[in-house]
């Protein structure tokens, strides 16, 4: 056989292998993306809103907007009188707002809280759940749905990364044939933000599971060593094993504990306390806060330093922050810093917010288009694709309606209503379920999506005006304005206009009309 003949016989096999690989990668990209697009959209939208967690906590609660001069810490703790030995005490931020206490009642397994007034025994239960709920919703309301669902969220993020990786490989492979893949590569590069959030989020959620799985094969069954080496990634495992309360013993005054913490870290600005077994012999208090100056420090250390002090004698047990050394601590600080965006200012956050929301919407739209194409034939797969397409689009636009409804409920329910926070939390899933049902039952999913986006915009429109009923610090308030409250009001107004604009554009787009026609006649086959 001549070399030429040998080359000719090898080529078809090589081409066939490439075709097979391309087919499989396409299958992975499409199905992994299609299955995770809708649930991940909720995670990304809620997560993007969590970028503004601190302004939202200020905006949502009028008590957090009142100026408050702080006396000594022990007097405040006496006034708060936390009902359990494990509690968290939050100080006013920037001399604004009432202090607050969070604790887990003995008969419950969820955190509850109250605000501590300036008068003795003046305690008001926490009434507002919006910011906390959005934080929880960004990994599937794990407080109510359990840790298993949180772990599922981690695997969905891996599914997203798998979809993106296979898309990148396909783009690289196609680059040899046409210039179009360059555009694809640029589009993928714009997804860098979401890739970073997905990877860091997956590690944060699944890291403890990986540490637990490595105890035997890596550490020879030595759990203590795994916790020590695992550091931040093993924190959750360590916290599950609460130390047993020791015998009763008087605790030193909180001011002494703060003084001890400040001796260990003089640059610490105290923002909160976390007590475990307070009033017991083995009681500890974590004095938490940010560190001033120290621009040379890691970004996360400036925001998240904690000094653990023993309540019995004020002995400092450890400083968590930039002094924690080792590769694990360094990596954890980087991951936390990126994931929680402990850098930049409001404009960086606004940019990241826009990138994440736009990327998520594009991802949903792309997989919806593929699903509706896959659903044009007949058979079980086509039928499932049609349902999945409508579900994806319903979740895509329904998330915005649910968030808007949550904001509207937050400003509409009476502040004195005892079940207000629970009712507020249920507004989100109920609205989302209604929107998905609407999309599934609608004969025209694209128009339904446009209507839902319009509904979200209209729902959000009156929120800044309603906010003025309780707070005078916003755009429509009569009192002195607070920058954070004004920024949230303005952001809501801008989001409302953007949603109405998107609804208008989607309703009039010729591309959406062709999609409507395709969806209206699912039996029509298409080779596109």
């Amino acid at each position: 056989m001549s070399p030429r003949d040998a080359g000719a016989s090898a080529r078809p096999a090589e081409v066939s292998t490439r075709r097979l690989a391309r087919k499989r990668l396409n299958l992975i990209r499409r199905w992994s993306g299609a299955l995770v697009a809708a649930p991940l959209h909720i995670m990304f939208v809620a997560g993007a809103l969590t970028l503004f967690y601190e302004p939202l906590t200020r905006w949502e609660e009028p008590l957090a907007q009142e100026p408050r001069a702080l006396g000594d810490y022990q007097r405040l703790l006496d006034a708060a009188a936390p009902p359990t030995a494990e509690f968290q005490l939050y100080m006013p931020r920037n001399d604004l707002g009432w202090p607050s206490v969070a604790y887990v009642p003995p008969e419950a397994d969820t955190w509850q809280g109250f605000w501590v007034g300036s008068e003795p025994s003046q305690r008001l239960p926490r009434r507002e759940a919006l910011a906390g709920f959005l934080y929880d919703a960004h990994f599937f309301w794990h407080r109510a749905t359990g840790l298993v669902v949180e772990d599922v969220a981690g695997f969905l993020l891996i599914g997203y990364l798998l979809s993106v990786a296979s898309e990148m490989l396909l783009s690289c492979e196609r680059r040899t044939r046409s210039p179009e893949p360059l555009r694809h590569m640029l589009a993928l590069a714009s997804q860098a933000t979401r890739i970073l959030y997905a990877y860091t989020g997956a590690l944060a959620v699944l890291g403890p599971l990986l540490v637990a799985a490595s105890v035997v094969p890596v550490f020879g069954g030595d759990g203590e060593r795994a916790l020590r080496v695992g550091g931040y990634f093993a924190e959750e495992l360590a916290e599950r094993e609460d130390p047993e309360p020791g015998p009763e013993a008087p605790a030193l005054a909180l001011d002494h504990l703060v003084a001890a913490a400040l001796r260990a870290e003089p640059r610490l600005i105290v923002e909160s306390f976390s007590a475990v077994n307070y009033g017991r012999e083995n009681g500890t208090v974590d004095v938490r806060g940010s560190v001033t100056g120290g621009e040379e420090l890691a970004m996360s250390s400036r925001r998240n330093t904690s000094v653990r002090v023993r309540t019995l004698d004020g002995r400092v047990l450890g400083v968590q922050g930039e002094r924690t050394e080792g590769a694990t601590a360094w990596v954890a600080r980087c991951l936390q810093g990126f994931h929680h965006t402990w850098y930049g200012g409001p404009f960086v956050r606004a940019l990241l917010f826009a990138l994440v929301i736009a990327g998520s919407c594009a991802f949903v739209a792309r997989h919806f288009r593929w699903l509706e194409r896959a659903g044009r034939g007949s058979g079980r797969v086509a039928r499932a694709s049609r349902v999945l397409a409508r579900w994806t689009l319903g979740m895509g636009s329904g998330t915005f309606v649910a968030v808007a409804a949550l904001f509207l409920a937050s400003r509409s329910f009476p502040l004195s209503w005892a079940s207000r926070s629970v009712a507020e939390e249920f507004v989100f899933p109920v609205t989302l379920a209604a929107c998905v049902g609407w999309s599934l039952s609608s004969s025209d999913a694209v128009r339904c999506c446009a209507r839902q986006l319009g509904l979200a915009g209209l729902t959000l429109l009156p929120v800044p005006i309603l906010a003025a009923r309780w707070s005078s610090a916003g755009v429509f308030g009569a009192g002195p304005r607070l920058a954070e409250v004004v920024a949230v009001d303005t952001g809501l107004a801008v989001a409302s206009v953007a949603l109405l604009g998107a609804a208008h554009a989607l309703g009039r787009s010729p591309r959406s009309r062709s999609l409507q026609a395709a969806l209206a006649s699912p039996g029509t086959s298409s080779s596109s």
Binding site: L20, I28, A165, S166, L203, A327, V331
Partner: protein, 78 residues
């Protein structure tokens, strides 16, 4: 097609975990560095193994590769 892709997803995870465990135990770095580098590489490794298996023509070959590599890695860890 679905079968080979599903096999690569399901078999890729234990294989990657075993490889990461070997790295975390035997890599020539200090303990924290080798453990955290293994932790960081688990998910990219899993995704890479799924993509790499897509060029293997037969599902049986994927299975054979996973079993062989799994046996070798387990032997290293024991």
């Amino acid at each position: 097609m679905f079968g080979s892709v599903a096999a690569s997803i399901v078999l890729g995870l234990p294989l990657t975990l075993l490889a990461a465990a070997c790295w975390a135990r035997f890599a020539p770095l200090d303990e924290q560095a080798r453990f955290v580098s293994a932790l960081l590489l688990v998910f990219p490794g899993w995704i890479a193994s799924i993509c790499a298996f897509s060029v293997v023509r037969r599902p049986a070959a994927v299975l054979a590769i996973c079993v062989a590599a799994g046996v070798v890695l387990t032997f290293c860890l024991c």
